[in-house]
Symmetry: C2
Subunit: 168 residues, 2 copies
């Protein structure tokens, strides 16, 4: 379940985020303004702008998958300035996530996960997913969505949630 | 895991939301404006305001727990207008969630979960949590947070994430 809760769902949410960004570009074309205006928008002066929200969403997914699988994540230096560069960042993150399998997660739940800023403290893999990785990726995808929504981009919950695996 | 991913974490996020609302009230007192101004704020004209974001976050948690445990959820008619009423809504939701145990979730993963608007289609319990309930609660808590943040309320990621169960 830890794998299903993360890797495939993170791929889906980053794909949804990519489509939401496209809707932003569409509005920019229609209304004849620079899409960079949206990329540099933020909800409040001391909150991260749209570019940074996308970068953090990607890193949250990438680092979660790397930490829990033991595989090395590709590095990104957060240099994206344009929409194509940001879409490449999402695509590269999705490509890495697609290399991770459920088998790679066999010991994930009980692993000790830490970060430099946690000063030697750790969470188990399961705790890290429940309390940190999952809340964080949805925070940053939702905040990116909100920045676009706040600026008039016509997106809705279905764009955020994406396809649901319904059965009849 | 399905239980740990939902009930206790939903309790925690609704508690965090309650504290975030308190910070909104604090700002209103300091700056001498009516807190109702915040409650009726929204990020864009055709998006739900703060009151509705809180109501939906509560219902997402409450209905998920009820559907997966088979227990009957208390009903709310979305009549909240004031901050005390909204905090009571959160408190009542948390009280209901606290009646749900991991044992109540023993068949949850394979249950067929549906809603009237899904027109006879269903998701398994696990799919419902991964694809719908979890993304939705974080969407609405984050959007409530963003409405307050957008209006100058000093909240940060730690307020959103709450306590992390660190070990040394």
């Amino acid at each position: 379940m830890l794998f299903d809760m993360t890797v495939p769902q993170f791929i889906k949410m980053l794909h949804n985020l990519d489509l939401i960004l496209d809707k932003g570009a569409q509005l920019a074309t229609e209304k004849k303004f620079e899409v960079d205006v949206l990329l540099n928008s933020r909800l409040t002066p001391n909150q991260f702008n749209l570019i940074k929200q996308v970068q953090i969403a990607c890193d949250t997914a990438k680092l979660c998958a790397a930490r829990l699988s033991g595989k090395e994540a590709p590095t990104h230096n957060d240099s994206e300035k344009t929409l194509p560069e940001l879409k490449t960042r999402i695509a590269e993150t999705i490509s890495f996530l697609k290399t991770i399998t459920a088998a790679d997660f066999k010991d994930a739940a009980t692993k000790h996960i830490s970060q430099p800023r946690w000063e030697g403290k750790y969470l188990t893999g399961e705790e890290y997913v429940i309390h940190h990785a999952v809340p964080n990726i949805y925070f940053h995808v939702t905040t990116a969505y909100s920045i676009l929504r706040h600026n008039g981009v016509e997106v809705g919950k279905k764009d955020y949630l994406g396809e649901l695996p319904f059965k009849k």
